[in-house]
């Protein structure tokens, strides 16, 4: 839907006239705004904007945009990024042994539902190699143990860099990576946690949910930060359960939630619809 469009993402202190200035900038360069969203956070005094511009007829390009845009950006003290629609993002997927999130992402990639390239899937186990390779994709097995963690992370980082990866999806990747790994891809690592966070953070959330006797289970997709399960939440969903559901039922029902919540988050990320606001997200869905 929004593939091929130019997307401008802006964060700045709230002020009068931002929308007019941005819209004028686009109009002056013969651009057509296809979509525009903005949000003011009155607590923080921050302003967030996302603009989709039709590349057809737009007088600026990758080479000339920044210089033209700089005065507006400086006037409003903007942090900004522009995404050129012809760039297809490069997504790495990290997995362990469970395949449901991986399979779902691969299926959405094959059917062009997710406009993304997948240069690489990394597993800390080797189980999912054939799933990946049968799609014609590269699979790297990087075992991780307590002793090898540092070296394994280095190897993964080198591999990801080599593959020019833009962002990383933890598709039920059951390892906790170090801050130095996480900080190499700020706001570019998406995780799926199998609970409605902040409930049941940490290990074995379905077991925790079963023990507590909740009547809903959930899944949460979030950006990974240094603090486990505490990063900015992108998407969440829940579904009802009852006393007849065993832990295995929770796990089974949860798989459907996990894959759909993760796919939503990945889609939003690919389409540059997420702006991070402190430890929260502004999602222009």
């Amino acid at each position: 839907m929004s593939s091929g469009t130019i997307r401008l993402l802006i964060t700045c202190p709230d002020a009068r006239g931002i929308i007019a200035a941005v819209a004028n900038f686009v109009a002056e360069h013969n651009g057509n705004i296809l979509d525009a969203d903005q949000h003011s956070d009155p607590h923080e005094g921050e302003f967030f904007m996302r603009l989709e511009v039709d590349p057809a007829g737009f007088a600026l390009n990758r080479a000339t945009f920044e210089e033209a845009w700089r005065p507006t950006a400086q006037r409003f003290h903007m942090r900004w990024r522009v995404y050129w629609g012809e760039d297809v993002k490069r997504m790495a997927i990290l997995v362990s042994k469970q395949d449901h999130c991986l399979q779902d992402l691969l299926w959405r990639w094959r059917t062009h539902e997710l406009a993304v390239q997948i240069p690489l899937v990394i597993g800390n186990h080797d189980e999912l190699r054939s799933v990946v390779e049968s799609c014609g994709l590269r699979f790297e097995h990087v075992p991780m143990t307590a002793e090898t963690r540092a070296r394994s992370e280095e190897r993964m980082l080198a591999t990801l860099k080599d593959a020019r990866v833009d962002f990383i999806v933890f598709a039920r990747f059951m390892q906790i990576l170090s801050p130095s790994f996480v900080n190499a891809y700020p706001q570019q690592i998406i995780n799926i946690h199998h609970s409605f966070l902040p409930a049941f953070a940490g290990r074995r959330p379905y077991h925790q949910a079963f023990e507590r006797g909740v009547k809903i289970i959930g899944a949460t997709s979030h950006y990974v930060t240094e603090v486990l399960d505490e990063g900015p939440i992108i998407a969440q969903a829940t579904l009802p359960v009852d006393h007849r559901d065993t832990i295995d039922d929770l796990i089974r029902k949860g798989r459907d939630l996990e894959r759909s919540v993760l796919a939503s988050a990945v889609r939003l990320h690919i389409e540059d619809r997420i702006l991070v606001n402190g430890n929260k997200t502004v999602v222009f869905a």
Copy 2:
């Protein structure tokens, strides 16, 4: 939340530069855009926009707005409306015997959840008089039979005009009114139908749903047009049912859906968040 703001609603043929022109207009008159939404319908080539402007500092007012705005409006062939936030809309409620939607609207009015005045409730039965009068509101009983319909409608119209009503809510009002009545309040009459339209239009939708053996029931709020249950849909919701649910259970569960879907639609209407696009709605929620 959005009470007190100035709201500008625009529909026009899609074209380049509309957002810039509108944003400039606001900026030139020292206005601050609090919220802006737009939508392009590529099938119809129509453009829809809703703008919320902070009245503080805005250089235009009710007396001066139109003349200042006219050139922009004409340039883009806009149909437009402006709502001045200090105007509190005047809502009439039409009821029959069932009270759940009425009670819910009255409660939301009393708690200021709905920023609206209620000059009048009309019932074609007298049963709900005390509910209304105990809130200090006026209740008019206008009986309707096949023979008296024309005269009853005239009387209702006169009463509504006298009470300077802006819009009308059918809160489970079980009468079908004539085109001439409906056309007196175009896109200003909100109905709640107790099914997920277009399924189960017409009479006794829960009985129809029970007969069909559906596993979900629903409710639909829509603007009333000349054709029964066919007006532009504003809001819909569903909930699961199963084989144990009797017709009475469907009716009971449905009441909760009806009142919440109707309240959502009324809220959207009050906040001028609905634009009609042919027989569909653009809802800037």
Copy 3:
């Protein structure tokens, strides 16, 4: 729907032949089973059963039931309760200043959706007196401060006993009562907490939710135990929110969730559909 029926609730160690023994007992006394649910918890080895029997033709009554039933109950080491359908439960409601849950319960009582008597509403503030008294119900104002808590609780307990209350609903009652109060009504006090527990237990859950940036909010109804917000969960529901929602929006949207989740829990309790299993519930909905 199930009003007027005899309900037998059973908990016992799981064993062969329980269903046959119970069904035979009913058949031998010329009873007709209208509904039967059972659940085995394989972890705990516990068996749970709920039976609805048509009083028409049933050869046993309040005076003769226990002696006839005792051999079966003893054979399987049952804990059991029987509810005679002609008994209408007596429900007290405890409130503070917020009225939405109270209003909703009162409306469902007036429309006979909840088959219950309400001998008494107690408020630790006096604000909701007129709401209650306008329904012809008794309102008691029992102020509570840190100093008066013990005496206030005593007064409440005495009042509740006098009014022969069967169970108590905390309809957004903003006080934490002592273990001795709670233990006077074991599994007979229903609370509504305005979050999807175990997330955001304690004070100001909507503020906590806003701070965390969750994409869903929820409500939880549970039996009150000595440990705050930790009792057996009866019902939960969630709804989506996004970055545009202020704390006030969360509070507003949450009210609709709270009242519907609480009403569900109260309905389940009235119809004797809840069995407590440790700190969890078996809900035969």
Copy 4:
């Protein structure tokens, strides 16, 4: 969860003592009831029951069951079926060109989420051959045109018989089959229709939904009968859409609904949880 258990499904006129008679029968043959559900339809006077019995210790088997059971069945005029848990049902899948429902069913089969054998997938197009064959399953291409329909159906029926298929899933199979085909597998053909039936029956439901401007879309799984889209509904679900959703968005979002609703229905069918009651279903979930 319920794999391996013996399941007894009963439909008969409602009467006193059925549960006791059935429970006694099981107890007398040393059976342990693991799960029992029943439902009375007061309109039709019909009684429905589903029993799961632990095969461990049960004194009857495939050879001896019917004679032992006949007196009870005759006494209550039962129609009944028994499923022996060691029998794994044989499911054929019929497809056209779209793969999402097929992929989902295959994934659930590979992960043992669906305890089923898949002897055969038939496509009226050849596109999905490699998907099927890469799972080690047999794919048959049976083209269908207006002229060849009768012969194609004959060929399919012969193939299905040869493969000893128990039931058939139309996984977005875009052909309407004749009554004689449908009647060869009564209550054994499961279809997924991409709307919340009865709304938008027939062709191109997402286009119909888009035209009508609904705010929810849905999917419906039902048994196929002679009348298109009118068979007994097994499962339905909906999700919200809005004015920004194009027809392509509806199709994309709908795919997720379709696959999950269809998987639910197939699971319920495999576990013998569905009883047909006229044109409705009793689903003991």
